[in-house]
Amino acid sequence: MNLTLKVWRQKNANSKGEFKTYHVKDISPDMSFLEMFDVLNEELLLKGEDPIAFDHDCREGICGMCSMYINGHPHGPGQTTTCQLHMRSFKDGDTIVVEPWRAKAFPVVKDLVVDRSAFDRIIQAGGYISVNTGNAPDANEIPIPKEVADAAFNAATCIGCGACVAACKNASAMLFVAAKVAQFAMLPQGQVERKKRVEQMVAQMDAEGFGACTNTGACAAECPKEISLANIAILNREYLAAKATSEYV
């Protein structure tokens, strides 16, 4: 396959970025999208040009590090991570536009690399159950109905990639926050800090500059792990219930 790429290049956080056009030849349909970028970067390096910086690590769809906005979709066509997108999803001769995640709370670091530390700070605000090592009772002491455990697991599979934010016209982080809040709200272990958790996580989300949710559902439609939009309903319910009786924020 021969393809034309229009890629966002930006030297660092303070400089102005622009699209640059590249042509790649003899791309195998079995290559992953990132392997196609590897080929391009090798060429650039040998030509004495600066290779394109992009985030990636596990290349098996679970670490959540890869983050390219391809042809108007986070991670490109289909519900997948960029590393699990293969060139067979494109046609010979295609022009492909590649940008970084665009959101105020995810500033560009270089080229296609953005800073997603806002997500870490949201988790630090309350995305945990306070149990010091050694405090735990026997694991089978609290039975949890299978349906509940499965639902909590489904919410917990979020990989924190930020596609939901990139997909949203408001750059809202509601789906990310909802997944963690819902996981713990469903489990008996999460009950003690239930109210405090949702209040603090939402407050941090707002402080980071993420936008509001207007229920368009683009986040869930693009999520590579198929985190359900229903989690946002749970988040709203949890937040309302907590605020109505708030002792904290």
Partner: protein
Amino acid sequence: MKLDSKIPEGPLAEKWSRHKFNLKLVNPANKRKYEVIVVGTGLAGASAAASLAELGYNVKAFCFQDSPRRAHSIAAQGGINAAKNYQNDGDSIYRLFYDTIKGGDYRAREANVYRLAEVSVNIIDQCVAQGVPFAREYGGLLANRSFGGAQVSRTFYARGQTGQQLLLGAYSAMSRQIAAGRVKMYPRTEMLDLVVHDGKARGIITRNLITGKIERHSAHAVLLCTGGYGNVFYLSTNAMGSNATAIWRAYKKGAFFGNPCFTQIHPTCIPVSGDHQSKLTLMSESLRNDGRVWVPKQAGDTRPPYEIPEEERDYFLERKYPSFGNLVPRDVASRNAKYVCDEGRGVGASKLAVYLDFADAIKRDGEAVIRAKYGNLFDMYEKITGENPYKTPMRIYPAVHYTMGGLWVDYNLMTTIPGLYALGEANFSDHGANRLGASALMQGLADGYFIIPYTLGDYLATIGWNDRISTDHPAFKEAEQAVKDQIGTLLSINGKKTVDQFHKELGKIMWDYCGMSRNAEGLKGAKQKIRELREEYWQNVRVGGSNEELNITLEKATRVADFLELGELMVDDALHREESCGGHFREEYQTPDGEALRNDEKFAYVAAWEYKGPNQPAALHKEDLIFENVKLTQRSYK
């Protein structure tokens, strides 16, 4: 220097309890006077950082990824072992200990492995309390499955994403300590050297991967939780960024390297599809619970799988190992896949693959049951290969997955440099010559949650809080200058070959001569080839750009420089170990039916290598393995 493993006295089952009592404690009010550096935030690093901070120590944690949640523990699929015996099927701490020692082909320490089995039960409790959503039965209690190398069901799992859920548990515990101000987190920061003064570890030199700034960090102790070195093979199931730099530079500062040649080749990975391939993807071993491994009986059979009738298929694992069948340990499964492919019976375009077939399981249990167990793995396979494994058998082939070798540590997880510890895959300790499935997660979390919090206190109490040097000390200055010099050299060579080209060449040498099977002649040739490649690297590598920016090529260049040295040590180790054991298969040493032939008389020891200077042969030290509880037998899974 004599190696002292510090294994406590007393009967096996009482060693850890006695040892815990004998370890010194740090007064709660004094803990805040100590600073601890944790490098790496996977299962071992995140659990250690969280647990130590909970105790009151000041922790600095480092990772090269953009967030600690992305460490490669996240990709572990199948599960975590624990001797809970919830299934009432005959499991016990002793049985988990025994299976692990045997599975490791009797090349691990009894005392360490027993302790691992002992604390395994606490890990499950801790993770459940953190909200890790393990799989459950309809009654609401925890579910288990069986795994290779065991005949009991002791593996706890969260669909095919157990590593992710466990890591997010440890990450959330660490996040809580970050918020509390007791852990200071440095993401996108890579350790490039260890600072040693007066024989003790004093801190590290790091590079900020965004600004390129080289920084000094001082502490009372340094914990390396940096994972394995499988990427020396270029193609492996490790993440692209996984590297050996932290442990390798510690080795060059005096930490001994244990059993470097013990590498695990995992039997069930998606086969290589072409030269562009950047990494290999594992399909969890749990698939072998329901999938049947086969190849055509006839060499050169090119018919598609559905046209090959039952009587013309060879279910070679079931045929050769009737009692364990498809659930033989990883080394045995991998080697047998290689044999049938060497015989020309491999399948797919490359002929370097075997089938893993779910047709019988789907017929027996229905597609819904199989989907519930392995849905995400089947989806992953389909995304990568474009084939639907519900309809056609998967094609799999072995790939480098895990390194049992690593920095030599004593019973306290301390390396030969006082104050320097290695946890998780970065140390050599518990898996001997072959790791059983679902034991890596167990070891990483055991080290971080339940071992280091006790053993580190003993060292800190012994040295006292005044025994620390400032970052202005000449030892820091010297180490920083060495790092800057190396980076300067790499940037100035401006040669004609890229870092990736060198890495691929090194990987091919390692895979061909120091991979699934090895022989003296091949290893000797490999050593020469690696030396030549390394020489060429320092003449002809091209690293563009500068240090003072996000430079993806420079990041790779420092890592590959270390792989080019580590590869040679692995070859030396493989050459010196004139026996076959676990993942180390020397063609000269095998039984008449092709199984690994150990030599317990001569090689029942840990090979701990000491760095002696650039291009000097490393010195071999031996820690004899003494087996007081298990009888050494030839492993049989027949």
